[in-house]
């Protein structure tokens, strides 16, 4: 075995070509660090992406990489995983790539639980095509294609994921190294599709769209970092907590020091609470919001294949068919 690799070992010789200040830089660093931390084998790791700013990612990671076509990365990654289930396969995608043009493939990767780590860089805008509103843009987003403000209701990546039968949904903020490191490592360890929504700041076309909860100074009060088995606390000195209001069937913020027993303990296997956490607007839930272990698609595919994709018979065994005859 090689000496332990460092994040730098996962950087390629290619010049990184995102806009200066783009949130993608921080995500790239976090991923390179996570690969080093989990001891990933570069030869056994592949990054597959679609089209968009985020999808340039594979060029910058010193592993195998495939920059494919718009929206189709999950489908290509599924084929790759079927061909070589031992590979560590990551999919890098954006909100347009995965939730607009590629929505169908995301849906089916999630419900099949293919062994992929899907990183959704959500910046609520189309960056590469110069700033049109995206499927996650809020109503009223002014853009070159919606000068008077967009009218479409945005889609919620987390709700889509759970609705499709996802088994792992987590969230992180591009510049939050600690949070990202944790989420990426947990995603890596998960068997099946781990789907991570990363709030990514597009400095050119949608700057600070997440600033109300990503600002470092106020993050303690605006982000709720959930951990399985631990109470949902946030705020300075963890003074606030989340309670389940049984009358309104909703989550609400309470004073955690006044009524600590009322604070909800995070159960990551609870899909109903996960859906509430996804919809929580303030604070915004981060970390592993939902995890329900399951068998991966490739495992089942091989287990059900009569010979686990091995050739145990020759064409000579089949070519004569059920019956044959001889012409003299």
């Amino acid at each position: 075995m090689n000496d332990k690799l460092t994040p730098k070992d996962f950087a390629t010789s290619q010049e990184v070509r995102w806009c200066p200040g783009c949130g993608d830089y921080a995500i790239l660093k976090s991923v390179q660090k996570a690969l080093a931390d989990v001891g990933a084998d570069p030869a056994n790791t592949a990054f597959v992406s679609g089209i968009g700013c985020a999808s340039r990612f594979p060029y910058y990671v010193e592993t195998y990489g495939f920059h494919t076509i718009h929206g189709r990365a999950p489908a290509i990654a599924t084929g790759l995983k079927l061909a070589n289930p031992d590979l560590d396969v990551w999919v890098v995608t954006g909100d347009g790539d995965s939730l607009s043009i590629g929505g169908n493939h995301l849906m089916h990767a999630l419900r099949r639980n293919v062994g992929l780590k899907i990183l959704l860089f959500n910046n609520e805008i189309y960056g590469l095509t110069k700033g049109q509103y995206s499927p996650t843009s809020r109503v009223g987003t002014k853009s070159p294609s919606s000068p008077k403000g967009s009218v479409d209701t945005p889609v919620s990546p987390g709700q889509v994921a759970l609705g499709c039968g996802a088994h792992f949904f987590a969230r992180g903020v591009d510049t939050d190294k600690v949070g990202m490191s944790d989420v990426l490592q947990q995603a890596h360890a998960f068997v099946g599709t781990s789907f991570i929504e990363i709030f990514q700041n597009c400095i050119v076309y949608n700057e600070d769209v997440f600033a109300n909860f990503t600002e470092r100074k106020t993050a303690a009060n605006t982000q709720l970092h959930v951990k399985h088995g631990e109470p949902m606390l946030f705020g300075e000195n963890n003074g606030k907590g989340i309670r389940f209001n049984q009358e309104t069937w909703s989550l609400e913020v309470i004073d955690a020091t006044a009524s600590p027993d009322d604070v909800l303990v995070h159960d990551e296997a609870n899909a109903i609470v996960a859906r509430m956490l996804i919809d929580l607007h303030m604070p915004v839930a981060m970390g592993v919001i939902y995890r329900q272990p399951a068998v991966s698609f490739e495992h089942t595919f091989y287990a059900h294949h009569p010979t686990r994709m091995q050739r145990t018979k020759s064409i000579a065994d089949f070519i004569k068919g059920p019956s044959s005859w001889t012409v003299e």
């Binding site: 030869a43 189709r72 990654a77 084929g79 790759l80 061909a83 050739r311 020759s314 089949f318 044959s324």
Partner: protein, 588 residues
């Protein structure tokens, strides 16, 4: 019982024979007594002329009918099975130990299963008939299905029922309803029948061991064989579509040959998963029909750009749009040869007969791996289901398929992955998991040397030229075009491709004109222009509006005489003979 026999006997009589151009022949059971409810109609459907008078269609209303009548059929015949009667009790009654629908008994036949009793009773419910009266209508329900499948008019049959059952208006109307319901069922279920149109006379069959085979079976076996020849697993990724699905079904039976099948969420996902599998080192294969192939187009370009092997099978059907799902056409030739964004050449092959689907699947895979390119194999709806006698090939004579090796140099992995063979221009097949060869591929233009992204104008020019040269280089490996039959030169040569092989073969044999049949459509064989140049006229019959004609004009500067037929029906030998004689008349 008596009246049921009466109906069938009457159908076999003169009334039926007077239906214009109606080729069906319906016979009463031959000297057999069936159980209480047993009843059978055999329909022999022409224009097929098979040795002996074997019916080509059997409607088995129950296990007894199947047991008795199956031995009368030739292999490849169409068997319609009424599921409702295949109960354990009925099976036991006629001595079937296992369900013949599942134990391989029907392997040699085209089988359509339907809950005919049940569906028929539902259809005639409104007439308030007794169960036995209603049940009798099922004959016409089944006939309605056949009329759809063989593309025949309902009207003459309806008129016959009107006359025959004029005295019993309720039965008349119920039978007409059943006829229409069966017809509608077959249409909705996209049932089609593709019986062999041409049987070569026994005398012409080369000595050897034969079996019956459909195009779907042969193509499945060919893909599996290609995997063995290349010592790679085959990953077949597809989305169900008429008439391509039989290949998917057949491949699921070949798992023990290292064949995997993945039913994707859509056509695009199917080709993308196949590309992913090829990227991962398996032979990625996808298959569809015209509308699905259209959806796969962008991904084909990705495989071209990334220089990955891929086999794309198109079981052509009538278009445009949804068109005629169960009818055969050859109208996707433009789509295959020209139909992509950018300068994106792809080798195109076609299979002429059901058996030839085996060879062409191997050939497609061989080209894909040698040149590291997607390859389109054109088949059609007719070949998919049509069974024919096939001489089982000597497997030892088939060359193994070589996989391009990774160059043993100390250059960068990116460069090594894009090191190309000087003759085929195929690159090395470097796949994730190989140590120390990490590199990046994609749909962006890349530098011809280093394999890194490149927007350099001169490089794009060179890469475009390279991609064209690569496909052109296929012609260096495929050998010369042969003349199928007839003289080497003369006043007329008929050029065909695909499943029209049979009728053109017969028509040119009868008229003594020369016949050239193409298996490689892009690139064309190197000597094709020289061969065709020896003839005064080139006649191109094809089941489209003149697509090969355009291709020959484009590639060889010829001016062929087009002869297109797009009725959904195969060419008749007589039509071809007439056309050949007409063209010859003009020539002289």
């Amino acid at each position: 019982m008596g009246s049921q026999f009466a109906v069938s006997t009457a159908l076999a009589g003169a009334d039926f024979a007077t239906f214009p151009d109606y080729p069906a022949e319906i016979r009463a059971p031959v000297g057999t007594t069936f159980g209480v409810s047993a009843y059978q109609i055999n329909l022999g459907v022409g224009p097929i002329t098979t040795p002996g008078d074997a019916p080509e269609v059997l409607v088995a209303f129950n296990p007894a009918a199947l047991k008795v009548s199956l031995p009368m059929l030739d292999k490849g015949a169409l068997v319609i099975v009424n599921n409702d009667t295949f109960t354990a009790r009925n099976l036991a009654k006629v001595g079937y130990d296992n369900d013949p629908r599942e134990d391989g008994t029907l392997n040699d036949y085209q089988v359509v299963m339907a809950d005919i009793s049940h569906l028929n009773l539902e259809a005639v419910k409104e007439f308030g008939l007794s169960k036995s009266e209603g049940g009798r209508c099922k004959n016409f329900y089944a006939l309605g299905m056949l009329l759809w499948m063989f593309d025949r008019e309902l009207t003459p049959i309806e008129a016959w029922i009107q006359r025959r059952l004029a005295g019993t208006p309720t039965m008349r109307d119920a039978n007409i309803k059943a006829l229409h319901a069966g017809h509608a069922f077959a249409e909705t279920a996209e049932l089609s029948a593709n019986l062999s149109q041409i049987d070569l006379p026994q005398a012409e069959m080369e000595p050897g061991e034969y079996r019956s085979i459909t195009g779907a079976e042969a193509l499945a076996l060919g893909l599996a064989a290609a995997g063995e020849l290349a010592d790679r697993s085959v990953m077949f990724c597809s989305y169900p579509i008429t008439p391509a699905s039989p290949l998917l079904h057949r491949l699921t039976q070949l798992a023990e040959m290292g064949v995997g099948t993945f039913q994707a969420e859509d056509e695009i996902a199917a080709i993308c998963a196949a590309i992913g599998a090829s990227y991962g080192g398996m032979i990625g294969v996808t298959s569809s029909s015209g509308p699905g192939i259209a959806l796969k187009t962008e991904a084909m370009g990705l495989a071209v750009s990334a220089e990955l092997p891929l086999v794309i099978v198109n079981w052509q059907r009538g278009g445009p749009s949804t068109g005629l799902p169960t009818k055969t056409e050859q109208s996707d030739l433009y789509q295959a040869v020209y139909g992509r964004n950018g300068d994106t050449p792809i080798p195109v092959l076609s299979a002429s007969t059901s058996g030839e689907c085996f060879n062409m699947a191997i050939e497609a895979t061989r080209i894909a791996l040698r040149h590291m390119t997607p390859v389109i194999l054109l088949a059609d709806g007719y070949l998919s289901n049509a069974a024919e006698p096939w001489r089982i090939p000597d497997l030892s004579t088939i060359e193994p398929i070589a996989v391009n090796p990774v160059p043993d140099t100390d250059e960068s992995p990116q460069r090594r992955a894009f090191t190309r063979d000087s003759k085929s221009h195929g690159r090395a097949w470097v796949t994730p998991g190989m140590p120390d060869l990490m590199h990046r591929i994609g749909g962006l233009e890349k530098d011809i040397e280093s394999g890194h992204i490149s927007y350099d104008p001169a490089n794009h020019q060179r890469m475009t030229t390279l991609r064209a040269a690569k496909v052109d280089a296929v012609a260096d490996f495929i050998g010369d075009q042969a003349i199928e039959q007839g003289p080497d030169s003369g006043d007329l040569v008929v050029v065909g491709w695909g499943s029209t092989y049979g009728p053109i073969y017969q028509a040119t044999r009868r008229t003594g004109v020369s016949f050239v049949h193409l298996r490689h459509l892009n690139p064309l064989p190197r000597n094709l222009g020289e061969i065709l140049g020896r003839f005064d006229k080139v006649l191109v019959p094809e089941m489209n509006d003149g697509q090969l004609t355009t291709l020959l004009r484009d590639a060889l500067c010829l001016e062929p005489v087009p002869f297109g037929k797009v009725t959904g029906q195969p060419f008749l030998i007589r039509e071809l003979v007439d056309k050949i004689e007409a063209v010859r008349g003009e020539a002289s």
